[in-house]
Symmetry: D2
Subunit: 382 residues, 4 copies
């Protein structure tokens, strides 16, 4: 379904200037369906760079820093000021920015991981509840139509009782010490000050956790983690392997690595139940394998026959014409827009983000422990 | 490479209103990289629908028909009027609209096939030459990064002397008479008045011809075509199989069908030379197989190792994160924008469009002939 | 189903000595299921080599030439002499050997193509009818379980009315002039005296024809062929592309090439009907794709759920444990054995072989003709 | 390379009568290359069934039980008696039979797991050393040509320093309680008395362990196992997930499940080093992916370009013609035959079998432990 609203949402952006990768992705996601118009930005923590980046994009309102932007926008008439802000800074800056804008009643779209510790995350949950803003976290893989198909099939009982989940996020681009060779994307990801306590497990393991939770609805009970740093001199883990136990008896394996040479963005999910199984692979995202117990495997395709309405709604073009990462990302933006406009919205919330932070913390704790199982904390009562 | 210019091109659109599919695709393609801003439209041949469609999109300037739009825009100051127009009407309307706007010095982006006969097509070539406008034809598959990689590898001699090409565009969605069941996309495609003399061979065979020409640079010498209408009552071919002979001795097979049950948009190209071979498949467009003669096959991936600059320039996001049809379409728009702004542009031109019309005409003639080979006309001297 | 009879059939072999490839394959096929015991051989046209080859295999009875073998075996008591003979000589020798043994009441297993012209082939049909022997032709691909599944599904109407067939046998190993570099397998295949009038089309195109006929039951009506010799100095075609018309209105494309660099034994069959489609690929022979019109594709697997009895009977081991070329070849041998023992047998007969020879002749004639369509001869009235 | 020796080895078999699956597989493996001739058998623990099974196969010498067979064969002249015995009984019978024949100087080919505990396994190691017989364990996956290619590439340093191994043996056929529905293959595998202390981990996890050891040469240091029984009432694990630590710092994940619906014999190995990576999949065994760090992936194919001599020697037929499970099994038999004939032999030995038993025991111990890591015992000093 191609969405093209007459009235785009006025969007601001914090972070995402020159040299940043993910800022450009967020802007495409916001723009692709015409659901947002980017009208203001404080695109860097360095004022000069913030200004230069904003001007290069032709933004109507360019600010030196996020505090000035917040102040500047609040000074505008309500029908001019930004309605929502995208927070695409390094991880440690998510919390102060998101909190400030949410407190001001501006809707927040925040990159993952939500925060660098659970205390920050819980505070964002409380702030969101108090302010009533829409708060989306860009776990972008949830936006793929076939992920929504998988979720619907699990929810509808097509797999029977869930037994096992295998989730992998295989990458190889950090097999060498690129952080010492001037590669910005490698630098901040391997720097505890900017990334938090975890490397691969925070950067991509968190996506893996979210995808499992989104598709299966299973709740983690305990984790057994082995984290390793393979590249000499690196300060954070670059490889993580986890055994998972879910409430109710399901079991799982989670693999998140950035040193598996040759793997690109090889995010794979397998879910097995008593009555069927599903397999999805991000690198071929328009396909979903479904195997009913005792029958031949079926290959479901985006916009193809037999799909659930959730999946059809998330697809723009005919089957066989591939949609990809940017379209999925745009789906997350579009669903947040729907919620901002007062409709329902199907997107990862601040609570998903807070659970993700807990996943990272529990994994790091398990890796440091001699006990086999580290319990996964039940949700905060915040 | 993510492109985000400060100054988008002012774009108008003719056709592409409610119920049209391809109009929405063109708008996403124009918007995705921020290279265009859609400011005017005459989105239907029915004035009411044209107005309603334009308002639904929040277009600044909504016109009843393309002639009014042309007049209205010419009356505006030069820095306000549209710089380019997208022509996304049914095939038989391409020629008058494109000619009128080009004559007025407005750049043209026209859907394929360029026109319904070679006479129209040649006139558009002459008009383009005379007016000096940029004229792009949206053979969108040429926009895929790995298609550009394939083209570069052929051009650089990596395959040696070309021997054989197998091109297929396999679809199955017209295996039943959907044109009798109210499916708009099926109706106009099977109606000679709107589609021209060819069905499948015009709709998708023309993409196949263009892809071969783009990647290999080979020139057709003669065609031997077998066109069939399988679905009872259908008025145009729904299946075409061709033997191809190229100047210089290469041979080829072209398959274009819309009744191959289960095939979605299964466009596949194989090119074989004396020193190597390439395989590309639109449904997995981020991959290109290269087999050097006598060595193991290599799997080249978008933005992965070993790619040509042409391919790298057309990719936005890291390897393994799939880009798809819309991104490829946007690449064609972005390259046309580059030419409009005075730079070089890498896109299919009006001459490619005219050759495509000749391909359709020659194929239809061959299908009606008892002679094995029907010569492919050399390019017009227009 | 693993077959292991207590009483193997006594087998002789003509051809297949040192340096021959296919002889060893036939011996494995005969031995794999324990259905035959090789007890006599005249393994070469050169007596010294025939003796040395037979002794190297430890054959009980080694002969200098096939005539001596025929005489020698006839002199033995009936319960000692060979019951069947495998003819694995170069193509031009098939006819005299097969005829002589059949005339003597010895069952014949003959490699394909059956003969080098239709006259020879027809004579073998008449000889077989007159003598009452079992005469099998080793179109080995028919032995794959999933080919039998495909045949059963077509026969059972699962595809509805057949519309289109695409059959390819893609190879690349003759992309260079290996016949000039001492490669025996290349030498005889490119030598008209030993191979007959056709190169690639005879060697592998004939397998393609047989596979189509076996699976679909369609009868050829006319052929339009383009044969090419790409490698300089080669004396037979190394690339063939055909348009096919079948009685009743189905259409087809046949590709058989030995110069498509990088292709190994890439035999692929696609069959499209009004109600469904099938795809099979020899390089992954344990899989068969079935797409019911309007429903998701299903992946049928050897010995997996939903298979026809014909396919189950031809499989030895559980699904997921791959069976391959040798097992399929052994299935042809086992079915011939079943017929020799007086049961039914599911294997390509001398009539299939004769039709195959006609296919080669018609293709060569078409390639030399300016007419688009060369009629396929109706079966001989022999 | 097709092997066809003039003098096959005289083979006996214990177990493998009617209703047994693996006996037939061993017989094909022994027969396929002509390297063995089965001349004697005690094919069941039930004398009547043993006789009937032997007669159905036409065995020259049929015995009521293995002790009679051992006695009977010893009474024969040395050039008539069996030279080797295949032990294909349920697991708990391996030890007494193998020991008795080895003690008698008869070479042993034993199914895996070698024994039901480490004490038995060690005794077989000592017996083998003392008697000097050849003792092969049919870890059949080691016989695949592309597994040998992988091993050679690791050994030659093509992957650099090994970092990580992911090994999976995914099956789904025991997702339901088939052991209660009269399926013999399910009955003994889920019966501790016949299978030993482990279910899936013993049946297929042991293959996984052996494949890792064979290809990488890595030595296990510690195991962290989570074993689960998903099917109600089942007495042994049907799902196992392990974290692995190898001496020298490499890490691993091992998955072995028989309840993953839809998975057939999906044995997959991925090996990652500092300089490259390998991926192999049993269901497509003729392929091996190799990714050099920083270069495009290469697809190596059996008998294709660029292969090591070890891999070429294990292939019989041209690339693209698939070889499968039975051919790999036959390779193990052929290599054992080579050793029996006094040559070198490339096959899993009794020591590999003993290590495999230790793997099962350590895994079961880890699953019962609260400690994260259970050390893997260093090899016995026997």
């Amino acid at each position: 379904m191609i969405r093209e609203p007459a009235e785009p949402i006025r969007l601001g952006m914090v972070g995402g200037g020159k040299d940043a990768f993910i800022g450009g992705v967020h802007r495409i996601a916001a723009r692709l369906d015409g659901t947002y118009r980017l009208v203001a930005g404080a695109l860097s923590s360095t004022p000069d760079k913030a200004r230069a980046s904003g001007e290069a994009l032709g933004l109507p309102r360019v600010y030196d820093d996020w505090a000035s932007m917040l102040a500047g926008e609040r000074a505008l008439p309500e029908d001019e000021r930004i309605e929502a802000v995208s927070v695409v800074t390094p991880n440690h800056v998510h919390h102060p920015v998101a909190k400030a804008f949410a407190d001001a009643g501006i809707h927040v779209i925040c990159d993952k991981p939500l925060a660098v510790n659970a205390g920050q995350a819980d505070e964002l949950v409380r702030t969101t509840d108090a302010s009533g803003v829409v708060f989306g976290v860009t776990y972008n893989y949830t936006g793929y139509p076939m992920v929504r198909q998988a979720r619907a099939m699990v929810r509808d009982g097509r797999l029977g009782e869930l037994r096992k989940v295998i989730i992998e996020y295989n990458q190889g681009w950090l097999a060498d010490a690129l952080e010492n060779e001037g590669v910005k994307q490698a630098e901040w990801r391997t720097d505890p000050a900017r990334s938090g306590a975890a490397g691969a497990i925070g950067d991509i393991g968190s996506h893996a956790e979210n995808l499992v939770s989104t598709v299966t609805g299973l709740e983690l009970e305990a984790i057994c983690a082995d984290l390793t740093t393979f590249v000499p001199g690196r300060r954070l883990d670059d490889d993580g392997n986890l055994l998972l136990r879910f409430r109710g008896g399901a079991r799982g394996v989670l693999i998140a690595s950035q040193v598996q040479v040759g793997d690109e963005n090889d995010l794979r999910l397998r879910v097995y139940g008593s009555d069927g199984a599903l397999t999805w692979h991000q690198e071929q995202p328009n396909r979903l394998w479904f195997v009913p117990n005792g029958a031949p495997p079926q290959l479901l395709t985006r916009n193809g026959p037999g799909l659930h309405g959730d999946a059809l709604a998330a697809a723009r073009i005919p089957p066989g014409h591939p949609e990809g990462y940017l379209e999925a990302f745009a789906n997350v933006y579009a669903e947040i827009a729907s919620a901002i406009r007062g409709g329902t919205g199907d997107f990862p919330t601040v609570r998903d983000g807070a659970r993700g932070v807990r996943f990272i913390e529990t994994t790091v704790a398990s890796a440091a422990s001699d006990a086999k199982w580290t319990p996964f904390p039940t949700e905060t009562a915040s």
